[in-house]
Point group: D2
Chain length 333, copies 4
């Protein structure tokens, strides 16, 4: 870590700061320049409060030379992490096709969708049981019953399942869930992350709507620092000023996360765009940028002809997208 | 609620949609125009899934005529809510000066700061016991011991206390806390909000870093829908592209929230700007815009001469800011 | 256009507004609902000042049913526009590979790069002569001499050239330039757009750093409204909170622009990411999402071994990216 | 300027970079640390291309120790600049009340408004003759005729006038204008800035919708570097995710600009909020934060009862806001 001190810092102020840093067991190397003094801090700087240091009157700027995330960092773990769920693998060249409905609605619905997406190449079934909703009056999911129906669909198809947790208190209910999803709004629910770190369940961690990639990796670090290394990162769109799409899928997050971290990265074009028409081009784009998996909403509601243009694809549309994705992957091998 | 259908919608599609809406117990008024068809939906539209409706192929646009928040809405509750904590009141013309250290560090520290800020006009003591930190390796607060020290400071000074909760499981520990704070990162931790709604404790709800005011009010609605109406809204800065300040205090949020809602609104210039120099002008600005209270970080660390320029004010600086705030309030009476 | 009036609007206010709208030659259809009154405005609403209308006290919301852009709109021009520059075509299935250095530096440099990128499949040469720089003290380009060198490179290789204009007064100097580029910071320099509309030169119009796609299309409309239909839209990255990349390439802009408009769309991964390592994955992603062309920075500076990791690719790296792009295009045919 | 090199930089790469920097007439001080090498660059670093330097593979980070703006910098010019327009002064304790209509519409309108706002304390008249409009089909202002009418109003009231320029070619028409305004969309129209720098007219420079304060000051530097020091900075709202207000007035920009620069700073609450109801609280907030002036839209259209809630104030409303502003200023003396 490097701290640049302002030109008009007095020797006493410098000495005060250096003593304060040394009390944190850091070695401090001082370089006196014409315009500034530079302090090089060596040792375990992960405990240094950067915000406090930055806010000191005499400090011009503070720069971490090493990233603040360790276990999620590719520098200390050069090989790709491969998350394994039974026979299904994600990362290190293994690609996961995750598909299913937004919400679990009925046994018939979830089993039909599961069978359909499996036939089109899906390797993991998604479906929401606990639904985070902006309004307290909106449908909040079937909850425990939704989890039960997902497990029925797993039994019927053999597909492992991924579903979202919203509350530490419900962790026991997720015992048979294969991958626990942490939603965008809970990305910095640090207590939830720590509890998940104490399990050994794979966690699919979604990026928050206005969070940086470093913040996403720090949240992964929260889970890993408790001992759980089975993390799948998920880019699901960020908030921008564009209104035509619900959010903006940050495709560049995929190669950047691969550079910074060894963890697998999947993309969710359904939630990012909010429009079924955009799922195919954005899924193809994410795969072309190197995604280790794609997560797509598929519904199965033949009576609801209206829903055809919504965020979810029909099974037939998913089948086409699935072929397109595989074609792009082959082209890039 | 109004839904505008696209020009090329077929009569069958329209009929499908209308039937679907009617099954939600809504009256549907249809206006056929030259370019579009407009559906006016009357009834309890708070359960209508706007995202789904918007995403339908045949729907051009959906507009709520009534805001989705009810209990937080000034339309249905025209008089200002006054939150009372013993003798201290916030809202409806009652102004709260909330001050104290970022983190509780020791009994001596918290009691000294409490006495100092009380002498300068503070009416509520703030102090962090559970600290949300981006890094799992950073200091996370004194936790239970921090709560105990805050209660000592309350006993010594008579000031009611406000401190942050991060985890539903710790709710029991907050029994003697006067105001429970929900931090920006937990603004959409919906399960936490619902649990707080079941208590009758005043809640200080901070706006998320990239959230709209409607989203803030929907989170207040989560608490209120469970029966707790003692909510204080807090503007604490939003994420923008400006890097000189840590965040950007959205001063206009204050009059807008007052227009939309009857709940009291306080501003936190310390966290918003991250620079002690900016606390005085931004506190004055927030008061000039009508804030019902100001929340300011004050430290008391005479040995740490370095800290003078940090985010926190010294007691002497706080005394000056306090006078300035009161002068602006008087000028606007 | 639809205007929703608030519930408490008086009959006199309604009548005033309706008369005002009729004076703009609009037909006004009134639907009285229980909660609101809806005005449907028929006629040429492109002259209605939406901001003024929206800001009226009695108006709840205003919604354009038809997009405010006409000539750029796919609804009125369903077939793809193909921009032709001699034998080179862009749009409607024709793909353009645009490559060259950031700035033109010398005759040797620009001719060498032009020959190298042509050999790797580039169809258009890019190079900056007038450079928009944040600082008045930074190198502003070779200006007129830069244009002359670009024309030399065109003569030597046969590649048409694209280069940026910053100032209406210099338009005469662009007579032999094949495509005139309007940079992101000039996207809403409306007078410049109108002047370019009076020429018949192809214009490559870059999206502003914080502009919506509708604003980009309105800027295209400025050019088209003066008679010039040869416009190529360019997504070059938007400003977001992510700091690892210089900007964020909004890949979803590509399919959205194709849906809304008939104009060709190219992507510039070099400027968007600011890192040469990210050019290959992001170029592949943009092509997978349907881009009609890719614009890539290539330098040729064997003496500057340092520059290898910068934003620009070496000719050898460009050759690889070019192959990758073509492989993705073939996979998606 | 400080450049931090990555740990794995080879001695050859370091030497290459140092030679390259020395060729720019910089002294390079090298500090070898355990983790990194730090280069301190002394000399005129304003010509160093930070983007290029940052993008080099071996460079971890680059930090300017001195701000890139010189003439606008308070460090080199500690006293406040006072811009004088005849008897009217702005800055250094002199406060300017700027008021007038959005657009000049007729002689009667502009003279009536000018007389009204003068009576309520306005010291400068504003009014748009050339209007930047997102749509080519919207009213673009009375142009030359609008300038003529403004000059009539100046003659009738003695108020100096401020109005916007959009195009270098029209500069001659602004000979009798007292203050030339550069709008938010032209903040980085660098050629326009340079031309204005060659005049000695006061320039009111508005911050762009998504620009940082440093970028605003760099644009001021463009004007100053050509010799014109009469610049008034204007905060007029930035683009955020909030939709209730048109933009978000960044009140903290006022004290920050005062810290970084000696130039006067005014705020425009009318354009920032887009709602007349918010003008009074936000004008008061800006003044409380230290603004040197406030710019407010006032219309005078007794026949248009509808317009009462729009962005502009009536003369009577302006009179109240004016009193409120003065009360806040007095309280803070």
């Amino acid at each position: 870590m490097i701290a640049v001190l302002k030109r008009d810092t007095t020797p006493e102020q410098k000495e005060h700061l250096i003593q304060w840093l040394k009390r944190m067991n850091l070695d401090v190397h001082v370089s006196h320049g014409e315009q500034v003094t530079i302090l090089g801090l060596v040792g375990d700087t992960s405990r240094v409060d950067m915000e406090l240091l930055t806010s000191l009157e005499i400090v011009d700027t503070v720069k971490r030379v090493s990233e603040p995330f360790k276990q999620a960092n590719r520098k200390f773990h050069p090989e790709d992490t491969v998350v394994e769920i039974g026979d299904v693998k994600i990362g290190g060249g293994h690609f996961a096709m995750i598909a299913g409905p937004c919400s679990v609605e009925s046994e018939e619905q979830i089993i039909e969708v599961a069978q359909a997406v499996k036939a089109s190449g899906a390797t993991i079934l998604r479906g929401g049981a606990f639904k985070p909703r902006t309004s307290p009056y909106a449908f909040q999911g079937l909850k425990g019953e939704g989890l039960r129906l997902l497990l029925e669909a797993k039994k019927a198809t053999g597909l492992p399942i991924v579903t979202e947790i919203m509350n530490i208190k419900t962790l026991d209910m997720f015992e048979d869930v294969d991958i626990i999803q942490v939603g965008a709004r809970n990305m910095q629910n640090f207590d939830l992350l720590q509890e998940l770190g104490k399990t050994h369940k794979p966690v699919l961690l979604k990026r928050g709507l206005a969070n940086t990639l470093q913040e996403l990796l720090m949240s992964a670090e929260y889970i890993m620092s408790e001992g759980n290394e089975n993390i799948i990162l998920c880019e699901r769109g960020i908030r921008t000023f564009e209104t035509y799409t619900r959010n903006t899928l940050d495709v560049s997050a995929i190669p950047v996360l691969h550079e910074l971290s060894h963890l697998p990265v999947v993309a969710d074009p359904s939630h990012a765009t909010g429009k079924s028409k955009l799922v195919a081009p954005m899924a193809a784009a994410a795969v072309a940028a190197g995604a280790d998996g794609i997560m797509i909403e598929v519904h199965n509601n033949p009576s609801c002809a209206l829903c055809d243009g919504a965020q979810s694809l029909t099974p037939a549309q998913f089948d086409q997208v699935s072929r397109k994705i595989l074609a792009v992957r082959e082209a890039l091998l």
